[in-house]
């Protein structure tokens, strides 16, 4: 079972109305991106982190590990903004390297940091949703957003098949490794190719069997299943609105002030 999926099921926020969580994370995410403000980003990062860890029950170490993945990616991609190689030193910092300087301007450093912070806070919004909402509940959102039934069914089946194929892949890999498939690069590549083709064939066969099984339960082309419903709570909605208003006022105030 995938870790994020597992946390989604165990989260203390699981039984909060899905639409509430969805609207909250999407609105916060939009405000983070639109405001591009340090204070908004830090506030979002801290408060959503607190919600996910404290209320959701995700271990701090795990949350930091999860945040590290996008953080590394962001650092690498903003490196070009933060660092310059120039013959003349810029105002923020300058490290001499022979005839050149590894340097950066205050403006670009601030811009880079702002970009990293607002992106990280946007990621924290998405983590908030994915670490507190299992995929089963997300189907309900898609339905409410009037997403085409075909896409929802595809979403449901792909989600299920990810795990089926992952377990198949793991079984094939174990079987290959037990027969020294990774003896050298050549055998490893060959084994990987073998696994890919085996998985493709098994996926086709399994989809056929799954369709038979669904048909045997009177499937007529539309997947009908009971969806989880958790009633929205007034208190939660008020807190969310207040939080969004706070972010909005910081954004507007900053724009007026600047």
């Amino acid at each position: 079972m995938m870790l994020i999926d597992q946390y989604g099921y165990r989260s203390g926020l699981r039984k909060v109305n899905v639409m509430e969580k969805f609207c909250f994370s999407v609105t916060t995410l939009l405000l983070c991106i639109l405001s591009r403000s340090f204070s908004v980003s830090i506030l979002v990062l801290l408060s959503l982190g607190w919600l996910t860890i404290r209320k959701g029950g995700i271990p701090v170490r795990r949350y930091i590990k999860l945040m590290r993945i996008p953080a590394v990616f962001l650092l690498l991609s903003t490196l070009a903004i933060l660092v310059n190689i120039s013959k003349t030193p810029l105002d923020a910092y300058a490290v001499p390297a022979g005839p050149y300087y590894i340097t950066g301007s205050t403006e670009s450093v601030i811009f880079g940091l702002r970009l990293i912070l607002s992106s990280l806070s946007a990621v924290s919004c998405l983590y908030f949703l994915s670490l507190s909402t299992p995929v089963t509940d997300l189907i309900g959102i898609l339905k409410k957003l009037r997403c085409p039934a075909l896409l929802i069914e595809l979403f449901l089946l792909i989600y299920r098949f990810i795990f089926v194929l992952m377990s198949e892949a793991s079984a094939v890999r174990i079987s290959q490794e037990s027969r020294l498939s990774c003896r050298n690069f050549k055998t490893a590549v060959r084994a990987f190719g073998g696994m890919a083709s085996a998985l493709f064939i098994r996926a086709v066969m399994r989809s056929g069997r799954l369709y038979d099984a669904m048909e045997s339960r009177c499937y007529d082309g539309t997947i009908r299943v009971l969806l989880e419903e958790y009633p929205p709570k007034k208190k939660e909605i008020i807190c969310m609105i207040l939080f969004e208003l706070l972010l909005l006022s910081i954004t507007i105030g900053r724009n007026i002030y600047i």
């Binding site: 079972m1 299920r160 799954l210 045997s216 009971l226």
Partner: protein
């Protein structure tokens, strides 16, 4: 009651696309209402193909199938009606479970029968309660153990209240604890009057549980009859790669040594045999 035919198959033939040898080669049999039938035979003898034909998933190229005296009809409405009355639990639950959570999975069948959400929820919860899987209701299906997946697969079918339940090798890949649990569920089904067909390779279980054994060999019925009748036919057992149930072998051995009078009916389980011996 048990004399009424539920399913009659007459000279069924079926060949899969691209195959030369037919999977079913003139299969004929009769299943009575409320009966407990064990279908046995070597791998590739046509058991699963026959089950798919019973559910209307496969259509025999030759021969006739009838349900409660009415011949099978393959239009959409008739198939839906047929599938609502004949449920099949597949051998590998991973081929059956498709939903993200257990509750969603179980509700699929009953919602397809046209039940409203309220009824579906009530029935789903009732069946989860009966099978003691209520605590799994919010769990994703991929996070279940093999035994739990099998329980959910059975619940999938029972929620539709079928007249016949077919279980294709229900104990395959299950540990003894989950096998016992599943056997209890099968007993509950038969007690509630559901006609149950299972395919199994376990002669001990088939001998103790079934009231009819059907041996399949190369796509047709090699032998059908009471468990004692079928399991006493050693040539038929050899042909289908089956062994005699342990209890019957011991019983026959004791009879040969005149330790038990042959007039006594053969015990169906080792426990019965034990009581038998203690009573001597």
């Amino acid at each position: 009651m048990k004399t009424e035919s539920m399913i009659t198959a007459d000279n069924l033939w079926f060949t899969y696309d691209g195959e030369d040898i037919p999977a079913l080669q003139g299969l004929s049999l009769d299943i009575k209402r409320g009966s407990k039938t064990a279908v046995m035979g070597a791998n590739g003898s046509g058991k699963s193909t026959f089950f798919l034909c019973l559910n209307g998933i496969l259509r025999p190229q030759k021969g006739a199938l009838s349900f409660c005296g009415a011949p099978y009809s393959y239009d959409k409405k008739s198939l839906l009606n047929l599938r609502s009355r004949i449920g099949i639990v597949f051998q590998d639950p991973d081929n059956q479970l498709f939903s993200a959570s257990v509750r969603q999975e179980i509700s699929f069948g009953i919602l397809n029968l046209g039940a409203d959400n309220e009824t579906a929820l009530r029935e789903t919860e009732k069946i989860m309660d009966a099978l003691d899987i209520t605590e799994l209701k919010d769990r994703p299906t991929h996070a279940l153990s093999g035994g739990q997946k099998k329980q959910v697969a059975v619940a999938d079918i029972l929620v539709m209240h079928p007249d016949i339940v077919i279980l294709d090798e229900p104990a395959a890949a299950l540990d003894p604890k989950h096998t016992d649990m599943l056997n209890k569920i099968i007993d509950q089904m038969t007690e509630s009057g559901i006609t149950v067909l299972i395919s199994t390779h376990d002669p001990d279980y088939a001998f103790s549980w079934a009231d009819q054994i059907i041996l399949f060999h190369q796509g047709k019925v090699l032998k059908a009859g009471s468990p004692l009748e079928v399991f006493s036919d050693r040539p038929a057992l050899n042909l289908t790669n089956l062994s005699q149930p342990a209890v019957l072998s011991i019983y026959e051995s004791l009879c040969r040594k005149k330790m038990i009078n042959e007039k006594f009916p053969a015990p169906r389980s080792l426990m019965e045999l034990l009581h038998f011996i203690e009573g001597i």
